[in-house]
C-alpha cells in the first residue's frame, strides 16, 4: 500500500440537524408570497430551498425548492414553476442574493402576465424556518483513504452540512470538502472536481456516490 499524504489538520466531520419552526405566515397567491418573501428571515429562504434536498431523498432527482413545487402544483402556474425551479442556487454565495433572485423572478412573471391566481383553500403556502444544530460527529480523517471510508458511512445530514450549509448559510464561499483538499492536502484538482459537482441535481445518496467516486478515482491515480 502506498503512503498517502497526511494532513496536519484533520478533516472533522460535522453534521447539521435541522429543526423546523412554524412561522404562522401563509400565502394564498403570488402577491402574498412576494410580500412574505421580502421580509422573512434568511432561515426561511434556506428552509424552502434546501429542505427538499435533505428530506426528500428520492430515487429520482426531486423538485428543487418548495416555491417551485407550490407554484406548479397548487397555483398551476407551470411557466413560473419552471422558472423558479431552474434558478441555479450554486450561482449565489449568500441567501440574500438567492432571495433577491426568487423575488425578481416572481415580479417579472407578474409584470408580464398579471396572473394572481389563488391556491384552493387548504393548499396555501406555509412559511417555515430551519434551525440548525451543528454537531461534531467525532469522525476525523487525516488522509484521503480514511476520508473515503468515513464519507461512505456518515449520515446524509453530514454531507448536506459540508456541501450546502458551509457554503451558503455560513457564507464561507466554498464547500468544506474542497477547502480541506486544497488547504490541508494540496489536492487542488480534487477540490475543483468537488466544486464542479452540482449537489442540487443529485439525490442525497446519489450525491454521496458521486463524491465517493471522485475520491476513489484520485486514490487510484495516486496508487498508479
Amino acid at each position: 500500500m502506498s503512503t498517502l499524504a497526511r494532513a496536519a489538520v484533520p478533516f472533522e466531520f460535522r453534521s447539521s440537524l435541522n429543526m423546523t419552526l412554524l412561522t404562522g405566515r401563509r400565502a394564498r397567491d403570488l402577491a402574498e408570497l412576494l410580500e412574505h418573501l421580502r421580509v422573512v428571515p434568511g432561515a426561511v429562504i434556506y428552509h424552502h430551498t434546501h429542505r427538499f434536498l435533505v428530506q426528500h431523498q428520492f430515487l429520482s432527482p426531486e423538485p428543487p425548492n418548495d416555491f417551485a413545487y407550490w407554484v406548479t402544483n397548487d397555483l398551476l402556474e407551470e411557466v413560473l414553476g419552471e422558472e423558479l425551479a431552474s434558478i441555479d442556487v450554486l450561482r449565489f454565495s449568500t441567501l440574500r442574493e438567492l432571495r433577491e433572485a426568487l423575488i425578481r423572478t416572481i415580479e417579472n412573471f407578474i409584470e408580464r402576465t398579471g396572473n394572481l391566481r389563488a391556491a384552493p383553500p387548504g393548499q396555501e403556502f406555509h412559511f417555515m424556518q430551519s434551525v440548525s444544530f451543528v454537531l461534531p460527529t467525532g469522525q476525523r480523517a487525516s488522509d484521503l483513504r480514511t476520508f473515503h471510508e468515513i464519507l461512505g458511512k456518515v449520515s446524509l445530514d453530514s454531507i448536506a452540512y459540508h456541501m450546502f450549509d458551509a457554503r451558503l448559510r455560513l457564507e464561507q464561499g466554498d464547500n468544506d470538502f474542497s477547502k480541506w483538499f486544497q488547504d490541508a492536502l494540496g489536492e487542488s484538482k480534487l477540490a475543483d472536481a468537488f466544486r464542479r459537482v452540482d449537489p442540487y441535481t443529485h439525490t442525497a445518496e446519489g450525491l454521496r456516490r458521486r463524491l465517493l467516486g471522485l475520491v476513489e478515482q484520485r486514490l487510484k491515480e495516486l496508487q498508479a
Binding site: 428571515p41 432561515a43 426528500h56 430515487l59 429520482s60 440548525s132 451543528v134 449520515s155 446524509l156
Partner: protein, 408 residues
C-alpha cells in the same frame, strides 16, 4: 443488544451515532412526559417506545398520566371535538371541572424535572405549577388539528397554552398565532412494531386466507376507521369506475364500528352500496388487528387514503414504508408524506382517484417507483428515530431560543 441498535438496519449507523451524540448533550436532563392515558391512542404508543429510548441515550426521562373524573374526560372529549370544529358551548361549570382536575393532579404528581413535556389539552393546565417553581422548560405538544376550531374552543385553552415556552404541532397548517416558538414535529411509525415489521410470504398468505381474501386479482385497499371523513363511499365509487377498465378487487379494512354509533351507520351504508359484489371485501377489524393490517397492506397493489379531513394520516406512511404506491387526499398532514407524482399521488375528487387507480394498475413500473421513493421518504422523515431526534432538538432549543444556527 440495546433497543436503539435494532433500528440500524433501517436508518444506518450515522443516524444512530447522531442520536447518541445528542443524548450526550442532554445527559442527565430530567424530562417528564405527561398525557392522559397509558393505553390506546397514538400518543401512548409513541411514549411507550420513546421514553426508554431517550433513557438509553442518557436522558432521565419518565412518563406520568393525569387522573380525572368521568366529568373531566367528558369535558375534554367535547373540547377535543370542538377543537376539530364541532360546535360546543363551554360553561362556567366546564371551567371549574377542568380547574378542579388540574388542581388534584398538581397535588398528586411529582413535577420535578428540567423539561415538562405536556401532551394535548387534557393535562395542559399543569402549567400552573410554574407560578411556584422556576427553572424548568415547558413544552406543549399538540397532537390534534386545531386549524379550524369551533368558536370558543381555542379561547378555552389559549390562556393556558400561551404560558408555555414552546409549542409543538404535527403539520404546518395547525400553527396558531402564538408568541412562543412553534415547532413542527411530525408523528412517526415504528418499523419494529407488529403493524410495520417485515412479514414472510407465508404469514401474509395465512392471514389473507383467514380473512377470506384471495390474491388472484390486484388489490386496491383503504385502511381506515369507518368514518365519513375517511370517505369510504368515495373510495367505493372510484373503484367501481376504475374496474370498468382494469380488473381488480377492493378491500376496505377498518374498525371503529362497534363503539361508535356513527361508525356502525357508515359501515351499514357502505355494505349496502357494495351489494353482493364478490370483489369487494369490507372488513370490520378489532383494534388489536395490527399484524392483519400489516399483511393486508403488504398484499395490496395500490393503497388509497382518500380522507376529506385528516390529522396526520399515518396510515399513508405505513403504506409507503411497505413500498406501496399511495393515492391520497391532499388534506392535513398527507402532503408532508406524499409529494405528488414523486412519492405518491395526491387527489381531490372521486374521478381523480378512479383515474389514478387505473393508471397505477396499468403502469406497474411507475407505481413501483412511487412506492420506492415513498419508502425512502418515510425512512428519512417518518420513522421513530427521526421523532426521537426532533424531541431532543426541541429540548436543546429551550436553552437557545431565537438562534438559527446553534453550535453544539
Amino acid at each position: 443488544m440495546n433497543e436503539l441498535d435494532k433500528y440500524e438496519p433501517f436508518v444506518g449507523e450515522g443516524v444512530l451515532r447522531e442520536l447518541r451524540l445528542l443524548g450526550e448533550h442532554l445527559a442527565g436532563k430530567r424530562v417528564l412526559n405527561i398525557n392522559s392515558t397509558r393505553v390506546g391512542g397514538g400518543v401512548a404508543e409513541i411514549l411507550n417506545r420513546l421514553v426508554p429510548l431517550l433513557n438509553e441515550v442518557g436522558l432521565d426521562s419518565r412518563w406520568e398520566v393525569i387522573h380525572g373524573t368521568e366529568d373531566f374526560f367528558v369535558l375534554t372529549k367535547n373540547l377535543h371535538n370542538a377543537l376539530h370544529g364541532k360546535p360546543y358551548t363551554f360553561t362556567a361549570i366546564d371551567q371549574e371541572t377542568f380547574n378542579l382536575t388540574t388542581r388534584q393532579n398538581l397535588e398528586r404528581l411529582n413535577l420535578d424535572a428540567d423539561v415538562l413535556f405536556i401532551h394535548d389539552p387534557q393535562p395542559a393546565g399543569l402549567i400552573k405549577a410554574r407560578e411556584t417553581r422556576t427553572g424548568s422548560g415547558w413544552i406543549w405538544r399538540c397532537h390534534i388539528d386545531v386549524s379550524a376550531p369551533a368558536p370558543g374552543a381555542w379561547e378555552f385553552i389559549a390562556p393556558i397554552v400561551e404560558r408555555y415556552d414552546m409549542s409543538v404541532f404535527s403539520a404546518p397548517q395547525f400553527a396558531r398565532p402564538l408568541v412562543m416558538p412553534q415547532v413542527l414535529i411530525a408523528p412517526s411509525i415504528d418499523p419494529l412494531s407488529d403493524k410495520n415489521r417485515e412479514l414472510s410470504q407465508s404469514e401474509i398468505e395465512n392471514i389473507l386466507r383467514r380473512l377470506g381474501i384471495t390474491s388472484d386479482k390486484p388489490m386496491v385497499t383503504q385502511v381506515s376507521r369507518f368514518d365519513r371523513l375517511k370517505d369510504p363511499a368515495g373510495v367505493l365509487a372510484a373503484w367501481k369506475m376504475a374496474r370498468q377498465r382494469v380488473d381488480c378487487q377492493l378491500i376496505l379494512a377498518g374498525g371503529g364500528a362497534t363503539d361508535d354509533p356513527e361508525g356502525a351507520q357508515v359501515l351499514k351504508e357502505i355494505r349496502e352500496a357494495a351489494g353482493s359484489d364478490p370483489d369487494v371485501h369490507i372488513l370490520d377489524l378489532p383494534p388489536t388487528s395490527n399484524v392483519e393490517i400489516n399483511a393486508i397492506q403488504r398484499a395490496s397493489t395500490v393503497i388509497i387514503q382518500k380522507s376529506l379531513k385528516e390529522g396526520f394520516g399515518l396510515t399513508v406512511s405505513e403504506a409507503l414504508w411497505k413500498g406501496k404506491p399511495v393515492i391520497a387526499g391532499a388534506v392535513g398532514g398527507i402532503p408532508l408524506q406524499v409529494t405528488h407524482r414523486y412519492s405518491g399521488i395526491l387527489v381531490h375528487t372521486v374521478e381523480g382517484t378512479a383515474f389514478w387507480i387505473k393508471q397505477l394498475l396499468s403502469a406497474p413500473e411507475f407505481a413501483n417507483k412511487l412506492g420506492q421513493n415513498g419508502r425512502e421518504h418515510v425512512r428519512n422523515n417518518f420513522l421513530l428515530t427521526r421523532h426521537m431526534r426532533d424531541y431532543m432538538l426541541a429540548f436543546l432549543y429551550l436553552s437557545h431560543p431565537s438562534e438559527n444556527v446553534i453550535q453544539l
